[in-house]
């Protein structure tokens, strides 16, 4: 067992414990946004997808890594935007006018009202 593997295992176990500790008591109201937020975090797989895309030389590898990058980006971008849209609902006060869009991260402007 290599030193690298031991280090990675250490990080893995501590991160698991950290994950358990972070979500201890959450009001039911926040279950859905929290799940969606966690869902965006595993979009970090984009980093791995970029790494394999960078070293892809044969066609198969290139196709696989293209799909991986597209999938992962969809996970990241969609995940954060939809979570923000959910959470936005909690903050608005009854009389406040519609919030102006604020930058890329808050690209979560209202869906067009049908």
């Amino acid at each position: 067992m290599s030193v690298e593997l031991l280090g990675a295992l250490t990080v893995f176990v501590l991160a698991i414990l950290c994950g358990f500790a972070v979500i201890s008591k959450v009001p039911a109201t926040l279950h859905t946004p929290l799940m969606s937020g966690a869902n965006s975090i595993h979009g970090i797989v984009l980093v791995g997808s970029m790494v394999i895309a960078a070293s892809a030389t044969d066609l198969l590898s290139q196709i696989l890594s293209f799909v991986a990058v597209a999938f992962a980006t969809m996970n990241v971008v969609g995940g954060y935007v939809v979570t923000d849209r959910m959470l936005q609902m909690f903050r608005r006060r009854p009389t406040a006018p519609a919030r102006p869009a604020e930058g890329a991260a808050a690209a979560a402007t209202e869906a067009p009202k049908a």
Binding site: V11, S24, P33, V47, F66, A72, V77, V82, L87
Partner: protein, 473 residues
């Protein structure tokens, strides 16, 4: 390690810290939005750092950059478009879809890595080391299951696939057989020769397993299933981290895997179900079983619009029980209008929010908040249940199973599920399109209660008519 690599690793560390602190802050309503933005910022830093590292290393040729840019453009465009245009009612299935592609990406990383190693030919037979082959197989299996499982879950919520439990021909046997094939193939790769065909057997078996795992589970349990699959994806991403030797993937993946597991348990607890129970087949055990011992054949009393309006306007306390029917009818604004009208008449109005009202925990709160319902009026189940005894009218809009008193008895498909004590109110008005059944597929005994008046109407139209009728009083 040179300076650049050190800086990029620090960027990854900052990203990981952003995820942890972001998740912490998302556990409380006041800081939740800020937490999500913090987590997004961490993500941007981690991804930006990766791009810098790849550029500076010079390993990536022009083709590679085109692949990355095209992938980001396609995936980012799709993600942004769907996330911005999805209706709030349809949001759970979209989250499930994002989860599917995340799991798919994680599996693809391991597949690609394995094929490259196998093609290198520098290994003697049986020499892809265990520390690569173990996480590779786990990544492919977990990622594959998540990919198809989440797609099925999403399809069930969208209505593309029927929400009711679907029996897989052969049932448990098929599932067991697939699991056995996967296990044998996995052990073969861990002990035997390097083999791409065997890897593809594992891929196929995992994809199939995801389908057979989720199909037999009823639509009502989908939130718990999606949460569980979300946790799976986290684990798959951590495995991809082991394959690539990348710490930030391991940290973020393990974080989501663990917190997702806790969240799954919290959700299942809110429905008084065990996760194992749900996975084994949920409500599907006795599909269509009619509860015995219930007041069968009780007559349903229909109530007119004006009658209902009078009851509501002259009550001193009204509790509104919103359900999924309200959400699909987009009636959240109409319900708020009615509530405000009643308050102007001096009626105390509260909303009773069942933990799983809507399609997911917290879904109903989001919908009502969107309609500007004041947050303090949204009361959670434990909090509001004692108050039904004092309420003059309980107005049920599009909620079904969560109000069924049959849950208090043993032997029905909803037994043990915590319910709102709607039947304790002095009178009950139910707005519902028809006598159709809820997700659990059983009749609601509340509807035949002598205190209950059924107002047969679409939730939105019914509420609008009620508003007009109350105004006309």
């Amino acid at each position: 390690m040179d300076l650049l690599e050190a800086l990029v690793r620090i960027a990854w560390l900052i990203g990981a810290a952003g995820f942890v602190i972001g998740l912490m802050r998302m556990s409380s309503p006041a800081t939740a939005r800020n937490g999500n933005l913090l987590s997004a910022a961490g993500m941007a830093i981690a991804i930006g750092g990766t791009a810098v590292l790849l550029a500076a290393r010079g390993g990536a040729g022009l083709t590679a950059w085109i692949i990355i840019a095209a992938g980001i453009a396609v995936g980012g465009g799709l993600g942004l478009y769907t996330a911005r245009t999805v209706k709030m009612t349809a949001m759970p299935q979209l989250v499930s879809l994002f989860n599917a592609v995340g799991g798919g990406a994680a599996a693809l990383i391991a597949i690609d890595d394995y094929i490259r190693l196998a093609n290198l030919q520098t290994f003697a037979v049986n020499s892809i080391p265990l520390e690569i082959s173990v996480p590779t197989v786990l990544d492919v299996v977990i990622g594959g299951i998540t990919f198809t499982g989440s797609l099925i879950a999403s399809g069930k919520l969208m209505g593309v696939i029927p929400g009711k439990p679907i029996r897989v021909p052969g049932g448990q046997l098929v599932t067991l057989a697939i699991a056995a094939i996967t296990a044998i193939a996995a052990v073969y790769l861990w002990t035997g020769a390097v083999s791409i065909p065997v890897l593809f057997v594992i891929i196929a078996a995992s994809l199939l397993f995801g389908v057979t795992m989720v199909l037999p589970i009823g639509g009502a349990d989908m939130p718990v299933v999606i949460s569980l699959l979300n946790s799976f994806t986290g684990t798959a991403v951590a495995m991809a981290g082991f394959v690539l030797g990348n710490d930030v993937l391991i940290i973020a993946g393990a974080l989501v895997g663990a917190s997702g597991a806790i969240l799954t348990k919290l959700m299942a607890d809110a429905m008084n179900r065990s996760v194992l129970n749900i996975m084994i087949g949920g409500f599907g055990g006795g599909e269509g079983t009619v509860s015995e011992g219930g007041p069968e054949g009780g007559s349903v009393r229909s109530i007119g619009m004006d009658d209902a309006a009078i009851q509501l306007a002259y009550a001193s306390s009204v509790i509104i029980v919103p359900g999924y029917g309200l959400a699909v009818a987009q009636a959240q604004h109409a319900v708020r209008e009615l509530a405000e009208l009643l308050e102007d008449k001096g009626v105390t109005v509260n909303y009773a929010i069942h933990p799983v009202a809507g399609r997911m925990p917290g879904h109903m709160n989001v919908l009502l908040a969107e309609a500007n319902v004041p947050y303090p009026q949204l009361r959670e189940m434990e909090d509001i249940n004692p108050e039904f005894d004092r309420a003059d009218v309980a107005l049920v809009v599009g909620a079904n199973d969560v109000t069924n008193p049959a849950a208090r008895r043993a032997g029905t498909p909803v037994s043990g599920m915590p319910i709102l004590d709607v039947d304790h109110a002095k009178s009950i008005i139910v707005i519902k399109r028809s006598m159709g059944r809820g997700y659990a597929g059983i009749d609601n005994e509340l509807y035949v209660n002598p205190k209950t008046g059924m107002l047969f109407a679409d939730a939105k139209q019914g509420l609008a008519d009620l508003v007009a009728a109350v105004k006309a009083l």
